[in-house]
Every structure is written in structure tokens, then in C-alpha cells.
Symmetry: C2
Subunit: 226 residues, 2 copies
DNA sequence: GCCTTTAATATGTATATACATAAAGCCGAG
DNA sequence: CTCGGCTTTATGTATATACATATTAAAGGC
């Protein structure tokens, strides 16, 4: 007697071999349940998993149809730098370069969906692996959206936020650029060297939280598992 | 009477306010079900959703505990370049630069977990947006793992694969590098310009499928929603 | 013919119940 | 004291049933 995972796999395979073409309706849950000899709830679980994976689209009364362009959604885990470094067997440390209140620059404000000049805390951090520069972090934090701040010389901003502020939405951007002077100096690399930059904006229940710009040392690879 | 989504939200909130600290056990399903006045299955659905989101970790017998480091999971949509370009209101096209059988180079073989020299199809493609170079794609395809191939001059490899081969696992790597000669020539940029490279390996039920190396035009940003 | 109301239907959720499975912890044999 | 097996327990899955909800399709009124 098949379990829901086997049914999910079976249906996925039947879609793959084009038994049901993209855009076509697949049989209803009742019908599939009878075919597979299981309860409807079991089929429901299986098909729902495929829907969450983006392979089919479901609508009440209208039934379930194979997605036209099965844009594959995969879950990826966003690395926490300390973990990433330690995972490579290296020793993590960080240096707080500066932390001071100020107004948001226009471009950062735009990304956070806040007015330019909005009160913020600007934080600059250098992340180290085995004592050598690993990444340079420029961050703007919206104090209105987070609990009272701890002493960021002792715990890294990133980690404190991850542990203390729930994120409800956000965006991650990867880009390559010639190292900017500030980052190049902090990372002790030649200005203009190609660096991988990740920009992250996050928002929580009380509004936009933070914008981070992370410049990695040349040669760094950001690794995501599907 | 609360539904599973309300219970999920309630538990998430109780975690946020530290009623249960990171690493701590939360009450069992039976207990929560009694507290909320619902059936265990309803609580199960709610907590399972939180587990899938990475906020809690569940283990049989050991119970459910709040994740120490709630490693955030983002949904990554394996980008179909055509869609991405068209989504920006630009016209997509591609040119198949070359496609020929050959043995896998050692470094690619290693990434695919196949022996060096394994039979493969090497494909080079240039993606265009509004007639201008957008990205350069170097791909190795494992013919043993996919159905018979179509004519790749008519449909892009990427799109055909996404639509026809189920992916069960894989890896995505982002890095920045000075443009290699081949990519620089194809993209019509200065050699040495900083380019964003994404490398992707995917494996399906019949083994490793493909390794793709995509060099984007300078200034390109890869965007992921959380 | 067109708009509104109503019925039919596929998926969504909730429930009680039962058994499966994994793993922690206990306990006895050696 | 250590190892292996047994028990216990929390989560995982399956089932039958019932009702909710969204949406389409049909029926009816104008």
C-alpha cells in the first residue's frame, strides 16, 4: 500500500512522461485515491507537496493542472557567516569597525522602503576567518523595528538579528563589482579586484529591519544547496 | 475555534517573545492540542509548517525544539533566463554557439561526481536581451541521465531541462571573477571586467544531469525573494 | 441576450482513531 | 562498566468522515 511520498513520486513521474501535458487537468483527488487504493487525505498530501514545489497548480472546484512552465522552487539556506566559516574548520572572529546613528542614504532608503534620511544605525563590520579578512559588512539598521539593541562588540549584528528578530519577508541580491575603496581597504585587497557582493534587505512585522551589503574576499564562493 | 494557520502563527509568536527560548523544547502535540482545543492533527499541521520554514526542529521521541540558529530558507526559483529577461520587458533570444560530444574535464567531472572523461555533451550558448549579450552559458550534460535530446537550436537547453527532467538535488554557487577570455569575447566586454558567475549542478533520479556555468554581463544582479 | 441567483463540485480543513517509526533511556547480561 | 535489547514516547502517516470554501456551470428572471 503506497504512502503519500510514493504517490507524489508516481504522479511526478506521470507528469514527466507527459501522461498529463503541461496545462492539462489531472484526475481529482477522489479518483486518484481510488486508483491508488488509498484515502483521499493521502492523495491530498501528495498533490499538495507537488503544488508547493511548483509542479502543479490547484484551484478549488477547478481542479489541479500541470504547471505550464514548472519553475522549480527550491529551498535554500541563507548562510550565517560564523557558521559558514566554522563549517570549513576555520576560526571565526569579527571586528566592529564603526557603529553610529545617522540618516539613511537615498539608495539604501529606497531599498528599505523608508524615506531618505530616516533615523538609522550605520554599522560596519569586518568578518575574519583564521584571523584574515573574510568579508566586509556595511549595514543599516532601522531601530524602530527591533527590540533594544545589545552591545554589538560582543555578539555580531547578524547573529543577534537572526536570533531575536523574526523576518517575514526580504530579498537577497548577488552581484559582482570592482572592489570599492572602503571594502578594499578593510579586506586588504587591491582596489578594483572583482568581489562578490550580496545585498540583503529584510522586513519584519514592525516594518523594514535592515539592509546589509556584504563584500566577500576575492575567490569566495557562496554555496547553496538545492 | 482556531485553524492550523492561526495555531502556527500563535506558536511562532510565542517563540518570538521567547516564551520558549532557542534550543528549548516546546510542548508536545498532544499537549498543545489540548491547550488550543483542537485535534492533534491540526497542531501537527501547524508545527510541521514551522519545521519546514526552519523555525523549529522536530525529532521523533525527542520532541520539537526551537531552532538555535533559525537558518532562514529562501525559495530559489531556478531561473529560466527567457522568463527573467521577458519579465523585464525585454526581448529574449539565444544563440547556440556550439554543441558537441566529448569527455568531461576533470574539474567538471568532480563537481558532477562522475569519472573524468565520462561521455558528455558540451554546449555553449549565448543569451541575448534586446539583441545584446546578456549571459554566456557553458554547459556539460550527462546524456545517460536524460531522455532523448531535442534540437537545441530551437528550444534552449535550460528550458527543455526544466520542463522535462525532474531535479532531485543540486547545488548553486555564486562567485565573482575577472571575465575569462571566452566569456568576455562572447559577451563583448573587456577581458578582466568583474563578472558574476553562477555555477549550478543538478542531479536527478538517474544520476548527475548537468553542470552549468553562467557568466553574466557586468552589472547584472541575481535576485532572490525570501 | 444579459445579469443574478443557485446548485454542483474539487479542493481545503478539522476530527477521532489507529498503527508505524525513530530514538532516548532503562536495564540486564556478559 | 559496556554493550545490546526492550520499553516508552513523541512524531509520522493513514483512514473515514464531516463540513467549509471557492469557483464554475447551470438555471432563472428581466
Amino acid at each position: 500500500m503506497p504512502g503519500w511520498e510514493e504517490i507524489r513520486d508516481s504522479v511526478r513521474e506521470r507528469i514527466r512522461v507527459r501522461e498529463w501535458a503541461p496545462g492539462a487537468l489531472i484526475p481529482g483527488e477522489e479518483r486518484l485515491a481510488a486508483d491508488y487504493g488509498v484515502a483521499r487525505a493521502t492523495v491530498n498530501r501528495a498533490i499538495r507537496a507537488l503544488a508547493e514545489a511548483g509542479l502543479v497548480e490547484r484551484r478549488k472546484r477547478a481542479g489541479t493542472r500541470v504547471a505550464e512552465l514548472p519553475t522549480r522552487r527550491a529551498r535554500l539556506e541563507i548562510p550565517v557567516i560564523r557558521r559558514e566559516v566554522e563549517g570549513q574548520g576555520r576560526i571565526y572572529a569579527f571586528r566592529l569597525l564603526s557603529a553610529r546613528p545617522g540618516g539613511l542614504p537615498a539608495e539604501v532608503a529606497a531599498r528599505l522602503d523608508l524615506p531618505a534620511g530616516h533615523a538609522a544605525l550605520a554599522i560596519e563590520t569586518l568578518h575574519l576567518a583564521d584571523g584574515r579578512p573574510h568579508a566586509h559588512e556595511a549595514r543599516w539598521l532601522n531601530p524602530a523595528a527591533v527590540p533594544p539593541l545589545p552591545d554589538f562588540a560582543r555578539i555580531s549584528v547578524n547573529e543577534w538579528l537572526v536570533a531575536n528578530v523574526p523576518v517575514v519577508s526580504g530579498e537577497v541580491v548577488f552581484l559582482a563589482e570592482a572592489a570599492l575603496p572602503a571594502a578594499a581597504a578593510a579586506l586588504a585587497i587591491a582596489p578594483g579586484a572583482p568581489v562578490l557582493v550580496t545585498e540583503r534587505t529584510t522586513a519584519g512585522p514592525d516594518g523594514p529591519i535592515t539592509f546589509v551589503r556584504l563584500s566577500h574576499v576575492p575567490g569566495h564562493r557562496v554555496n547553496l544547496r538545492l
